[in-house]
């Protein structure tokens, strides 16, 4: 402690402290950041529907109503299908934390079994898209080249050319897709959550959806070279070029002009 106390006025102390604080923040985040739950599709049983109804009444009925028909500004869940529930609850978007332009993804509040029960209950209210099978979302079976062409036409305008995400209007945004599970990507296309439009099987067939998933899987597996800077294009690249590049140039100019001591 004595050595520390003696050195606390050292001019390097603030830098060392800052570095330590950054390291600590990073380490804490790595330890505490939750991993998203992966939902597996299972056949609905009467038991599940019953459990699901109980969960629904306790957690969802406040907004969506006891009969799940919604009200002004809150959508009815009759006919949205199990896929919509699995996506919204599985990615933590529902139950919604608070009102805002968009419900953000957060750690899922329910475990796989509970989500499956909720999905079974909502599916029992009216026919809707089901949770896709493991084969339907297996990236290994998809064609990433075809997926790229489809992604470019249908998805890239909002989600960025390689799925890095992007801004929409009035505080809404299209999220990054690299960490989204294939099942959730498939369900999002099928059900069109929040601002996203629907891409049903007539628009993008089941195989085409799998191609898109295969393409996204490749994009999420690291950049082929260089620093990606978030893959957001000229905005982040320009920021760094101006701040770092111009900073270095100005620093060099100052050094050249400064008098030698």
């Amino acid at each position: 402690m004595k050595a520390l106390a003696a050195r606390r006025h050292d001019r390097r102390a603030p830098v060392v402290l800052l570095l330590l604080a950054l390291l600590l923040t990073g380490a804490l985040y790595a330890v505490l950041a939750p991993t998203s739950a992966d939902a597996a599709p299972t056949a609905a049983t009467a038991d599940q529907v019953e459990t699901g109804e109980k969960l629904f009444q306790a957690n969802c009925a406040t907004c969506h109503g006891p009969d799940a028909t919604g009200r002004e500004g809150i959508p009815s869940l009759v006919g949205v299908g199990a896929a919509a529930v699995d996506f919204q609850v599985g990615t933590g978007r529902m139950p919604m934390q608070m009102n805002g332009p968009q419900a953000p993804a957060k750690p899922a509040q329910f475990d796989e079994e509970q989500i499956a029960a909720l999905a079974a209950y909502v599916a029992s209210l009216g026919a809707g898209p089901a949770v896709p099978t493991a084969e339907q979302v297996d990236p290994a079976l998809g064609d990433p080249a075809s997926g790229m062409a489809l992604f470019r036409t249908n998805c890239a305008m909002c989600h960025n050319a390689i799925g890095a995400g992007g801004a929409l209007s009035e505080g809404k945004w299209a999220p990054n897709l690299w960490e989204t599970t294939p099942t959730h990507v498939y369900e999002a296309m099928l059900t069109g959550p929040q601002s996203m439009p629907v891409f049903n099987d007539a628009n993008l067939t089941s195989e085409e959806k799998r191609d898109i998933i295969a393409f996204l899987e490749l994009q999420g597996n690291g950049a082929p070279g260089g620093i990606t800077l978030g893959s957001l294009g000229p905005v982040s690249e320009g920021l760094w070029a101006w701040v770092v590049g111009m900073g270095l140039l100005i620093g060099a100019a100052v050094w050249i002009g400064a008098r030698s001591s």
Binding site: L168, S169, M196
Partner: protein
């Protein structure tokens, strides 16, 4: 010529005559000539007074030059030992090694030169007086005489045909540069093509890029389909035609539709609008299904698809043109006609 520093000068003190020259009072004429302020006192650097410091600076400069040499050697070694190869990883390694070698090779020279000049070379300021630019009258007269003699000698005044030939050859020569430039700007000046697209009566709407026709019943509420006209790939210039004819198809609850650009142009809540922004022609395709707003990624023009694609935000001046659609006997979506106005940004022959 050099001027030694003028240590006696102190022109900035109040009351000094030199200082008062600079101040302009009302009614006074502008100052004819400022006195030369001279150089400030020379302050020696550490390397000037301390031989050890000078030695240290010299070593630093040598080290920087050595860094440059190492960078060059590293570059050459990397060039032979790290070929780009076939994989992305090997290309990255090769590029990184070559780049670092080149950076150190050049940066070493630059830093060493600047450091040498700053710390070791003479830092006394020097000045050189300007000379008068005008030559003496005699030199000027002589030069003029040489020109006159030359003109006399060539006989350009007497030989009229020669003069004409010279002028014509000089005047015509630029055509060899200008003609191809203008000719290759583009052979196609038919602007009226922008007024029409591939869409025509009963042309089927198909999915981009697969070209599958679209059944109206398959388009569920909240769906967005990116549409190209049937037979696009067989057309003469598919990309040119696609650039004009792309359409965004949206289905919403028919009760949500506030207005459309023509009576009966939609089908049961399915509306089709041109995807080319009326601002500068970017593809507008960021559709938010809850607000029915369509956002252009380039300049954030926002169109309300539920309300005739009117501009609700941004620099676009006109709504996106609507494509009148209906269904054929088999239930496929078809166009009623072409767009009723030119698509895309304004151009000089646009009607409105």
């Amino acid at each position: 010529m050099s001027i030694t520093p003028d240590h006696g000068h102190d022109g900035h003190e109040p009351g000094d005559t030199a200082g008062s020259d600079v101040v302009l009072r009302e009614g006074e004429d502008a100052v004819e000539k400022f006195p030369n302020p001279g150089f400030g006192p020379h302050r020696p650097r550490r390397a000037d007074v301390d031989p050890a410091a000078a030695k240290r600076a010299e070593r630093q400069v040598v080290a920087l030059f050595a860094l440059s040499v190492l960078g060059t050697i590293g570059f050459i070694v990397a060039y032979f030992t790290l070929p780009p190869g076939d994989t992305i990883a090997s290309m990255r390694t090769s590029n990184l090694a070559l780049g670092l070698g080149l950076a150190f090779a050049l940066l070493g020279i630059g830093l060493a030169a600047v450091h040498w000049a700053k710390s070791l070379m003479n830092d006394h300021e020097k000045a050189e007086d300007r000379h008068a630019q005008r030559s003496t009258d005699q030199t000027r007269a002589e030069a003029l005489q040489v020109l006159k003699d030359g003109a006399q000698d060539s006989g350009i005044g007497r030989r009229g045909v020669l003069k004409g030939a010279l002028v014509s050859s000089l005047a015509l020569f630029p055509l060899t540069i200008v003609l191809p430039l203008i000719g290759e700007v583009g052979e196609d000046w038919n602007v009226s093509k922008f007024k029409r697209t591939m869409w025509a009566k009963n042309k089927k709407l198909t999915i981009d890029p697969t070209g599958r026709p679209i059944k109206a019943a398959d388009v569920t509420i909240g769906s967005v389909v990116h549409v190209i006209p049937e037979g696009l790939d067989e057309s003469e210039a598919p990309l040119d035609e696609k650039a004009k004819a792309v359409v965004l198809l949206v289905r919403m609850d028919p009760r949500d539709i506030k207005s459309e650009q023509g009576e009966g142009w939609s089908y049961d809540g399915i509306v089709a609008y041109s995807k080319i922004c009326t601002h500068v022609g970017c593809p507008v395709a960021l559709y938010e299904q809850q607000t029915h707003h369509l956002l252009c990624p380039c300049h954030q023009s926002t169109f309300d698809v539920a309300d005739s694609a009117k501009v609700v935000f941004g620099p676009a001046k006109r709504p996106l043109p609507q494509l009148p659609i209906t269904v054929d006997d088999e239930g496929y979506l078809v166009a009623q006609s072409d767009f009723h106005e030119p698509i895309g940004p304004s151009f000089w022959e646009r009607l409105r």
